[in-house]
């Protein structure tokens, strides 16, 4: 990151950033360059020549939120199938070609976007990009491949039911989001997946796998001019288009506590408690992150860990998070404790939510949170994989390439009063969703 980029970038603005990592240390850092290609795809790029490797991440607006309302699981099944055969290659030829060179090419659907990840040694860039372009542009969605993947997805959904954490997560999302698409499991359901047809997949692919809906971040041992020439050769024919996406109506906030309990023969209660949170563009986003660090986001130093783990030994892992997706966010506290202490843990969580609303945090707590959040920033940029992820997300959330420069300022401007204000505004200990997977006879919940 200290190294300066070479020449050959006439067409591109090189962003030189000043990254403050701590008292007395200032680093000049070029996080990356941004360019919009002729077909509308946004390219983020950073040259790193320390190792002969290349890492690429592609975010395509083809997430589960774009699923047809009556067919959850289409985005996931599409993502599963694009590597399973193209007009030029069979499924096995695709996996064999990338694995033969020790690379990887994977596709994973999320709620908002589908992520395509490519890693290759730099000498195999051509092959990697050729395979990437082939699976994006030419998937065949062959009926026998669809049948295979449907079976695998159904088995996955079934196996998920034996993981208490997964069961709680699914129940919690349904309680918080109701009929909003984020309330549905992104793999779909045992009922919906078998109803998905080849036409659904082809239509979804046509509508959403488009360069104007795609961000490509590339970091590694390649020159930008070379990369662009290769992208033009492979992806130049990828046509912009597709259908416009109308975001769903905002989910309705809860008006009272809602509880879902699920019986399992388990030794621990898996507990998720929370409610709607905020989106990434909320002006209070940074104050919320600092507040949450003190409440339950700061690992073993947080208040929740201190009360529930360190003082009482009730849990190995307890934590809270504000998770911002594109169209809505979640606040959630997660804890696993033996069935018998489930109610104690729930009470302690609610008590801490109230305390941070009712009383100002101390100056020391605030200073510690700021010191960590700003001081640990270099650790968020110390591998090609992390840089490529940050570049893609900076673009996706519209943070600007000077984000790295401005981040410490956002955090450092937060005051004790801000913390209390956002705690009161965004934490709701009187109207939350609670999902508990436990041996209920032992857990004795008293909602």
């Amino acid at each position: 990151m200290r190294r300066h980029r070479g020449a050959g970038l006439q067409a591109v603005v090189l962003l030189l950033l000043v990254l403050v990592v701590g008292p007395g240390q200032v680093l000049a850092a070029a996080l990356g360059q941004r360019e919009v290609l002729p077909n509308g795809m946004v390219l983020l790029f950073s040259e790193k020549r320390a190792l002969p490797i290349l890492t690429a991440t592609m975010l395509i607006q083809a997430g589960a939120i774009q699923d047809p309302p009556d067919k959850p699981g289409v985005a996931n099944l599409t993502a599963e199938l694009i590597t399973q055969g193209t007009t030029a290659r069979t499924a096995t030829q695709i996996s064999e070609a990338i694995e033969f060179v020790g690379g990887s090419l994977s596709v994973e659907a999320g709620q908002d976007v589908t992520t395509v990840s490519l890693s290759v040694l730099s000498r195999d860039v051509d092959l990697g990009l050729e395979l990437l372009a082939d699976i994006l542009l030419n998937p065949t969605f062959a009926p026998d491949e669809i049948q295979r993947k449907v079976q695998e997805v159904l088995a996955g959904i079934q196996r998920t039911q034996e993981d208490p954490g997964e069961v709680a997560t699914e129940a919690f999302a349904a309680l918080v989001f109701g009929t909003h698409p984020y309330g549905r499991p992104l793999e779909g359901t045992q009922a919906s997946v078998p109803t998905i047809t080849r036409e659904d997949l082809v239509r979804f692919h046509q509508a959403n796998y488009r360069p104007n809906k795609t961000i490509l971040a590339v970091v590694g041992d390649v020159r930008l001019a070379d990369l662009k020439r290769r992208l033009e050769a492979r992806l130049g024919g990828w046509q912009p288009g597709g259908s416009a996406f109308t975001p769903p109506a905002d989910p309705a906030p809860l008006t009272r506590p809602v509880v879902r309990t699920i019986q399992r023969d388990v030794t621990q209660a898996n507990i998720l408690l929370g409610h709607l949170g905020v989106t990434r563009d909320n002006p209070d986003y940074y104050a919320i992150q600092v507040m949450n660090y003190i409440l339950g986001g700061g690992g073993v130093t947080s208040r929740l860990t201190s009360k529930i783990r360190e003082e009482r030994g009730w849990a190995y892992d307890v934590g809270s998070a504000f998770t911002p997706d594109k169209y809505a966010g979640t606040f959630s506290v997660s804890v696993q404790t033996k069935n018998q202490t489930a109610q104690d843990a729930i009470d302690a969580i609610l008590a801490e939510m109230r305390r941070i609303r009712d009383q100002p945090v101390t100056e020391t707590e605030l200073a510690d949170a700021k010191a960590y959040l700003t001081g640990s920033f270099p650790l968020r940029l110390d591998t090609t994989g992390k840089i490529v992820w940050l570049l893609a997300n900076i673009e996706y959330f519209g943070l600007g390439l000077d984000y790295v420069d401005r981040y410490a300022g956002f955090i450092n401007s937060v005051t004790v009063a801000d913390i209390q204000r956002v705690a009161r505004k965004y934490l709701h200990p009187d109207r939350y969703a609670l999902a508990v997977v436990a041996d209920l006879a032992k857990a004795k919940l008293t909602p």
């Binding site: 996996s95 020790g102 088995a155 034996e162 506590p257 388990v266 009470d347």
Partner: protein, 449 residues
């Protein structure tokens, strides 16, 4: 193809340069120090590796290595209880630790300018850990919750635990790293103090520091910080040798779950044995991705399983295991899946693998080795783990070893180690969960008792 030759050279060059970049020093008290200058990002990783894990534990005290790992965060005379991680995070660092059967590792990652600070913390707890009863009692409960979380309520983890306890009769690899529940409930403070004194001496540890550092400047500081810690007596050796297996062992676990699981393991040598390279290749030929044999045959062609994989790692002090595992698709039986695994084992024993399969596995292993160096944390982890079980210097010859493996070698190790009478088979038999409760939005009164 010329490109393959070029690539092999390139990977070799990377292995060689790694060796040249590591500065090894042994302090008079026996602490081994490995320093790597890797200035590509302004960060540093500080890792302390103790040569102690569950293989060192006596019966009745299983899991005590891991319990002590937890207590290492609970204070010294200078760093109060619960202050260790708070202090690290206040300096923008992240810290954690993990215990395995063979070693216990502690790490702190920081912006590069905090390296001395992190080293001071690490030296302090090597010499002055308190182990206060007041911190120990709740931390024991935390570890019990960790066991529930990671093992008790996860069908695959329970099956793995029972499988290892069956595959090893005598060697302490038979017990779980986290320990049996009754043992966790039984340790005393004195047990932990004794264990700390026995194993946490500089002569039983390796310090690895990698990142944006200057070796020449850092080494004298390390000598000053750690040099004053006295050498300890040599820790006791593990004397138990696992006797040769004489016949297949089978075990089942019945547990609430949705679908069966099939685990098959065979005894296999560690990374000091010349066969380790061919076993690495064999694991990739069988389980190294979607184009590998198990996935192709069992998941793709026969549609018997939702996954099928192979697993081998030589990073153990004593001989460990070569494993196969698979999850039947709904409607398929554990028996069909088990037989399909054996069919692939028999095929690799009967016919040599193809040249292309061999080359693919080599390329995958070499590529993995290069990608591991992208992160200084991962690079230091590789050095620390190899040094803890044998010697980090073996890494220098690793790619050479991989490159010389032939198809005949792979066939030979498959025949030698994957014998039916040497295997342990563990099957998860799912029992039915209780019927799910109806979704209910309980009209809770404020949620507070």
């Amino acid at each position: 193809m010329g490109v393959l030759f070029w690539f092999a050279l390139s990977a070799q060059a990377w292995a060689a340069s790694l060796t040249n970049r590591v500065l090894e020093t042994v302090l008079p008290n026996g602490l081994k120090v490995l320093l790597v200058e890797e200035p590509k990002a302004p960060v540093v990783t500080i890792q302390m590796w103790y040569k102690v894990g569950s293989r060192n534990e006596p019966i009745g005290k299983t899991g005590i290595s891991h319990m002590l790992e937890h207590m290492m965060f609970q204070g010294t005379p200078t760093i109060g209880p619960k202050q260790f991680s708070l202090t690290v995070q206040r300096n923008g660092g992240v810290d954690n630790a993990y215990t395995t059967s063979d070693y216990t590792a502690y790490y702190q990652n920081f912006a590069a300018d905090r390296v001395l600070f992190g080293l001071e913390l690490e030296a302090d707890r090597m010499a002055h850990l308190l182990i206060d009863e007041k911190q120990f009692q709740p931390e024991r409960q935390v570890v019990i919750e960790e066991r529930r979380l990671r093992i008790e309520d996860q069908p695959a983890s329970v099956l793995g635990e029972v499988m290892r306890a069956t595959a090893f009769l005598a060697h302490p690899y038979r017990w779980p790293v986290i320990g049996w529940l009754s043992d966790i409930e039984g340790y005393t403070r004195e047990d932990l103090v004794q264990y700390y004194r026995t194993y946490y001496a500089p002569n039983n540890a390796t310090l690895v520091v990698a990142g944006d550092i200057r070796k020449d400047e850092l080494l004298p500081r390390i000598q000053a910080l750690f040099g004053k810690i006295p050498r300890g007596p040599d820790p006791p050796k593990v004397v138990t040798v696992e006797p040769p297996q004489q016949g297949e062992r089978r075990v089942t676990v019945k547990k609430e779950a949705e679908l069966p699981l099939v685990f098959v393991v065979y005894h296999a040598p560690n990374l000091t044995h010349p066969d380790t390279f061919a076993l690495d290749i064999l694991a990739y030929v069988l389980g190294g991705g979607r184009s590998a044999r198990l996935h192709q045959r069992m998941v793709y062609e026969k549609q018997l399983a939702s996954y099928a994989s192979a697993d081998y790692s030589g990073v153990h002090v004593d001989p460990y295991l070569f494993g196969l595992s698979a999850g039947p698709l709904p409607g398929k039986t554990a028996e069909e899946v088990e037989q399909a695994l054996y069919a692939e084992v028999e095929r690799v024993q009967r016919e040599p693998i193809t040249d292309r399969e061999l080359q693919k596995a080599k390329n995958q292993l070499e590529s993995e080795f290069i990608f591991a160096q992208d992160s200084v944390h991962q690079l230091a982890t590789m050095l620390g783990s190899w040094e803890s079980v044998a010697s980090w210097r073996l890494l220098a010859g690793y790619l050479d070893g991989i490159r010389t493996v032939t198809a005949a070698d792979v066939q030979r190790v498959a025949r030698q180690y994957l014998m039916p009478e040497k295997r342990t088979v563990a099957i998860l038999i799912p029992t039915k969960p209780a019927p799910p409760t109806a979704p209910a939005a309980a009209p809770a009164a404020g949620g507070k008792p």
